[in-house]
């Protein structure tokens, strides 16, 4: 994983110590989120999941910090580091969302996805490489994290859209639930396993005061919030990239595949925003647009790197 000389490091200076610690905490967080769903009334289950997720984000951040200290630059230059920072951003932003909206049903898919991402990242080459000349710029430390935060928001929007679609599909499947929707939500908010899909059944806790609105509208709102935060972040990130490119190569924009694809992603979410402001659309329609935006984001993030062409090939795996 790392050059041999790092073995002289004290354990708390070792990025692997924090990475593995973070992974363990994350596994616990997944379990805690599932437990939190099943035993929503227990206050302990509430806090534990949130704190475990927070601690694992702190551990991952410390791991990146140790790595940066060793590399001598902000360690965000290959796919492994990029995935790790994306995971941290997703965790932090979800912690904020969870605090604001109380979304127990979103906890386990988010933490599971982050777990899968970090687990995948550790299979990639993790050796520290010296930086190419073009990457030695303070722009790199701004441009990349901003883009990754946008991706984190879109990931959360994606999960929330999926929950919306599942929820509306369940409501359609059992029309009687809709008749006494209020009751249904109340039951769901207490995390009572119901209707065969317990893990997807839960919504806001009643104490949150959101009980009067349906779960579909809650996930609709969460998706919208995530997109309205992700959209400016991606805009700023792309513009920062343009400024950097202008400084480094004398071009804001060279229609390199990664750049073009990020523009496509931005336009995709632009469609989402304008559909929203233009009259009434079913939340499900909007959720599908957000899912499509996420697919575009994945192509931008992974696809173009796998093709390995263009200026952004430093993101290449390996």
């Amino acid at each position: 994983m790392l050059p041999l000389e790092t073995s002289t490091l004290v354990f708390w200076q070792d990025e692997r110590f924090w990475l593995h610690g973070g992974l363990i905490l994350l596994v616990l967080a997944v379990f805690a989120y599932v437990l939190r769903l099943l035993f929503a009334q227990r206050p302990l289950a509430h806090g534990a999941a949130w704190w475990l997720l927070l601690l694992s984000a702190v551990a991952f951040s410390t791991s990146i910090a140790c790595r940066s200290a060793e590399a001598g630059y902000f360690a965000l230059s290959n796919m492994y580091e990029s995935l790790l920072v994306l995971s941290i951003a997703t965790q932090c932003l979800f912690l904020w969302l969870d605090r604001t909206f109380r979304l127990p049903a979103m906890g386990w898919p988010v933490s599971l996805l982050v777990l899968a991402t970090v687990a995948y990242a550790t299979t990639l080459p993790t050796n520290i490489q010296p930086l190419q000349a073009a990457l030695q710029s303070y722009w790199r430390s701004i441009h990349v994290p901003v883009i990754l935060s946008a991706y984190a928001m879109f990931t959360l929007a994606f999960i929330s859209s999926l929950l919306l679609l599942v929820q509306s599909w369940r409501e359609q499947g059992a029309p009687s639930h809709r008749a006494n929707g209020q009751q249904n939500i109340h039951a769901a908010s207490q995390g009572l396993p119901s209707f065969g899909l317990p893990l997807l059944a839960t919504g806001p806790e009643a104490a949150g005061g959101s009980g009067a609105l349906s779960l579909v509208s809650l996930y609709d709102e969460v998706t919208y919030r995530c997109v309205t935060l992700g959209f400016p972040l991606l805009t700023i990130g792309i513009i920062l990239g343009g400024l950097w490119a202008n400084e480094a190569w004398g071009n804001y924009w060279s229609w390199d595949p990664k750049e073009s694809m990020s523009l496509v992603t931005l336009l995709g979410y632009g469609v989402y925003l304008h559909l929203r402001v233009n009259g009434e659309h079913r939340p499900q329609t909007l959720a599908w647009v957000s899912v499509a935006g996420f697919v575009l984001m994945l192509v931008t993030y992974f696809g173009v790197n796998l093709m390995g062409v263009g200026l952004h090939s430093y993101g290449k795996i390996g």
Partner: protein, 578 residues
Amino acid sequence: MTVAPAVSTHVSSPVSAASVAEQLPALPEPSCSPAVDSTVSQPVVPSSGVEADPAKWPVRVLAYWGAETLALFRSVPLAIMLIALLAIATLVGVWIPQEGLVDLADIKRQYGASYQTLKAFGLFNVYSSPWYVALEVLFFFNLLLGSFRWLKPATTAGLKRQFLSVSQLQKASTALAPIAVTAPWPVTLEALRKVLKKRGYSVYVQPDGQPDKPPVPDVSINHSLGETRVYATKGWWTRLGPAVAHIGILLLLVASLYGTLTGFKVQHVAVPGETFRLSAADRLFKNAPAGFWLGQVPPWSIRVQDFHVDYYANKPDTPKQYFCTLDVLDANGKPLRQGETISVNHPLTLGNFTIYQASFAPTGKLFLTLNGQPVAVQADQNFNNRPIAVLPVSASGNRALFVFPFYRQQDAGVTDNNVVVFLHNGKQFEGAAPGKMPTNLRLSEGQSGVIAGVKVGYVKPEIATGLQMKEAPETFWMYLAFFIICLGTVMCFPPQRQLWLALAPVSSAESSQTTSPEVVGLLYWLPKTNKGKHLFQQELARLQLELIQCLAPPGPEDQTLAQSVAVHHQPHARKEPK
């Protein structure tokens, strides 16, 4: 909505957060949609003067058709379609290799027979193809016209300080249950102001229909004060967000057009010691087609003094940074800038003109010494598909040195620039034997040696610097547009929350019928948000509690939490003379 039971519930029994939450009705849907705004969705009709004259029917048809086209042209659905089409077109450019980015020969090989057809559709040059440009132009006008049509009302709708009357509020289906008021108006208004201000709202009062008249202090119960309307809002500035973002996009499009019409780009590969004129450089790109280009190339020259590359000590094939030292000379050869060193990410800027360090490459020229004399040779011969330099060592020309150059980065396993030298005697290599490598000499930079009695040294290879120069008169406007777009999209994030409230007096008869006799009035209220219903709902639940506690504090017999909170929040209510 029935007023009485709601009021009595609130006033006579302690209220818990949960029960308040249950009573809150669903909020109105965000109504920022241009399509549902009746004032703006009227189709444009031809003017009545034209209508009156039957002889002018072609004009009428044209006017009507024009109006319809205009309406379509600036519509938001068209905007959505154009954004989606731009996305798809851009996607095409990602999947199909583009000429500027991929080698032309590769593209031709890959597409074979279909190359010409696809080229005719501009698919190898998507971003400068007529249809992509047409899409952008359409988008520009859609955005420009749409801004006046949809964005203006959407923006101003949130900025208006409207007041709603009690009867309007009573009719509104999304209004909340009225709250009982026990204190005289000035005290009540002051309390209301405090509660709303604490939650970040700006509060505007219209007592007796007089806009913005401040409430009169210390008036005892005065029913004649009549209906008083209040408007409270927070985050009104976020409604400017879309307009700011769209103006930024318009500015970006205009600025980049300006740059296309007046800017240019120059690429030149220069060797140290070379001076070149900008206008005579290798490649001069004017961004606009000939005849449309309005800029000019300055009559400057650039003199390259020196170039060198730094490599990582622990990774000899990765360049750490490369530096070029140069002078910029004006038309008379007078230096504008002298001895400036540029490197990657550190360009040289003269106003709107910028010189970037883009790349470097060996030219194939090698500086050697032959028997102590400096010589320069060009590796222009081909030996088994490797470029080599041939350097005769004797006047007769039979004996020659074959010099094989190797470069860092270019050749696998090479950690420095070096040459391998063989001596050829006209028939064969010196020291050649079957199965054996002929006599040779590997020399790094600065080394020398002897091969079959000939003394050679390797000084260094000639490395050319790839410079990119650019005149971008639009730079300031581009940066401004970038800033405005960022600002605008960020401004769109927070929701705007609005509350319309009205105080209505309650006659003593009404009041004793409905609830306790202290009640002197009712506060009607209607909430609205353009996004974020759920969070607003949470805020409303707390706000309702606070209002109930401040406006109608429970009597002394109610030993509730509500009471202590009310005392804490509302000292005025206590002081007020009974």
